[in-house]
Symmetry: C2
Subunit: 254 residues, 2 copies
DNA sequence: CACTGCGGTCGACAATGTCGACCGCCTGTC
DNA sequence: GACAGGCGGTCGACATTGTCGACCGCAGTG
C-alpha cells in the first residue's frame, strides 16, 4: 500500500488533538504538540476552518472543532445499516427490561456508541451517542473482545486502565472472560467501569456471521443483579434482541 | 489570504459528497463526480479510511462515511459553550411549554440543530441533533436571518425552495419578515416547512450582544396556535428562555 | 518601553501529491 | 466460455504544491 497523504494525516491529527483537549487550542500549541512548523499548522487550520471542520474564536484566536463535523457525524448515523435495523428492537428491549439500552460498534481501541435508548420514564439523561466506552470493562466491549479478532488485537501491549476495584486489568483475565463469553453467548460487567452500574451484552452479527456490533442493557446493580448475579430474565431479553437484530441484518437467511 | 491546501479541500468535498448521497459510492463515481483522476481520489480515500473518516464496504468495495466523524461530532458538542449553558433552560422551556425545543446555530446556508429536547411524555421521537433546517421557513432560521448579517448574505441569489403552500419564497417577503422579527423580538413559522407544524423562536446573543444562535419551540398547529395566531403565552416562554440563556452566556454583565 | 508571546504572512525549495496509463479481477453477455 | 466492459487498485514520471523558518505587527506584561 502506497503512503498516505501527508497533509491529510496531519489534518486528522489536528482534529483529534482539538477533540481531545477540553479547551480551545492556540496555533502555537497545535504546532508544537504535533511537531509542525507554525506556518504549516496554520495552512492546515485555515483550510479546515474554511471547510467548517474547525472554528476560530474571534476573540482569542484559538481553535476548536467546527459544526460541519456534527453534520457529517449525523450523516454517518443516517447511513449506518446496523443502527437503522436495530432502532425498533432496541426500543422494545428498553421497554421490556425497563433499563437503558446501548448499541455499540468497535472503533479504534474502544466501543463507539451508535444508539442509545433512555431508560423508560425516568430522570434527566444525557445522550451518549458518539461517545466511547472501554473494551475490557463493559458488557459491549467484552462481547466484541470475545468475538472480534480485531478487537483483541487492539488491546495489544499496554496495561489496562482500572476504573473501579472490580475492573479486570490483567490480559489473562480478559482472555478468560472472553472464553467464558464465547461459551455462554453473552457478557456482563458489574461495577467494572462505574460504581453501582451493571450491564449485560450480546453479539450482533451480519449475514455472513461476522461480528458487527453489540447490544447491551445497563442499569443500577440493585435492579440488574440478584443475589450477586445478573438476572437470567434480563440476559434472555438481551440475547433475544441481539438475535432479532442479527436476523434482521440477514444472518438468518442461507 | 494565501490559498487553501488542495488535498484537504478535495478530501472535504469527498466527505460531503459521501454525506449527501444516500447510498455508498464507488471509487470511480467519486472521481468523476468531483472531476479527479482515479488515482488521486483513491489516494485521498485511502488516507481518509486509515484515519477512520471513511469506511469501505469489504464486499462491494464502495465507500461511506466513517465512525470517527461521529466521535468528533460528539466532541464538538461537548465543547460547544452555547449548548452547555442552554441545556437546563431548554429543559425547563420544554416542560413549561409542553412542546419540543430546538437550539440551533447558523451553519452554511441553514440552521444546524445542536440541541433537541423531546416533547414531554409523548410518542417515539427521533433525535435531530446534527440535522439542518432551512433559513427562510423556520422560526430558528427567521431569527438568524433577522439578526445575523452573515445569514442574510447566505441566502444570496438563488430562488428559495418552497415546502408547503405557506412557504415565503420571495426575497422581499423574507426581508419584510426579518424587519417584523427585529421589531417585535421573536419569529414564528406556521406550516411553512412542514404541514401541521408551527414554531416560535427567539434570539440568543453573547456577552458582546453578537447573535450566536436561537431557541424555538415546535409543535402541532392546534396546540401552538389559537385563532390563527401563535399563543402569546408560548411566545413569552420562548423569549424568557432566550434571555435566560443569553444572560447565562454573559450578555447581562457590563 | 523593551520584551516576550501570540497569530499570521511570505517566498524559496524540494518533497509531495497528482496524473493517466496500466493491472488483475469480477460480472454479465452473446 | 471467450470476450468486453466495468470495477478498485497500482505505479512511476513530473511539476505542482505543501512545507519550512525567518519575518511582521500586535497585545499584554514586567
Amino acid at each position: 500500500m502506497p503512503g498516505p497523504i501527508q497533509s491529510l494525516s496531519r489534518a486528522a491529527a489536528i482534529m483529534r488533538l482539538l477533540a481531545g483537549g477540553e479547551r480551545r487550542l492556540g496555533l502555537s500549541e497545535v504546532a508544537t504538540a504535533l511537531d509542525l512548523a507554525k506556518g504549516t499548522a496554520h495552512g492546515i487550520l485555515r483550510t479546515l476552518q474554511q471547510e467548517g471542520f474547525v472554528e476560530q474564536d474571534p476573540e482569542s484566536g484559538k481553535y476548536q472543532l467546527g459544526a460541519e463535523l456534527l453534520r457529517l457525524g449525523q450523516s454517518y448515523l443516517d447511513v449506518h445499516e446496523l443502527r437503522a435495523r436495530a432502532l425498533v428492537w432496541a426500543d422494545d428491549l428498553a421497554r421490556a427490561a425497563g433499563e437503558t439500552v446501548y448499541l455499540g460498534v468497535l472503533h479504534q481501541r474502544g466501543v463507539l456508541i451508535v444508539h442509545h435508548v433512555f431508560r423508560p420514564d425516568d430522570t434527566r439523561q444525557v445522550l451518549e451517542v458518539g461517545s466511547m466506552q472501554p473494551l475490557h470493562s463493559t458488557a459491549l466491549g467484552k462481547v466484541l473482545l470475545a468475538y472480534d479478532p480485531v478487537a483483541r488485537g487492539e488491546l495489544g501491549e499496554e496495561p489496562l486502565e482500572s476504573y473501579t476495584s472490580r475492573t479486570l486489568t490483567g490480559l489473562a483475565d480478559v482472555d478468560t472472560e472472553a472464553a467464558l463469553t464465547r461459551e455462554r453467548g453473552w457478557a456482563d460487567a458489574v461495577e467494572e467501569t462505574w460504581e453501582g452500574v451493571a450491564s449485560i451484552g450480546a453479539l450482533i452479527q451480519d449475514r455472513r456471521r461476522n461480528p458487527v456490533g453489540a447490544v447491551c442493557i445497563s442499569g443500577p446493580v440493585e435492579r440488574v443483579c440478584e443475589d450477586g448475579f445478573v438476572r437470567p430474565s434480563l440476559v434472555a431479553s438481551v440475547r433475544s434482541a441481539a438475535r432479532a437484530i442479527s436476523r434482521d441484518l440477514g444472518a438468518g437467511r442461507f
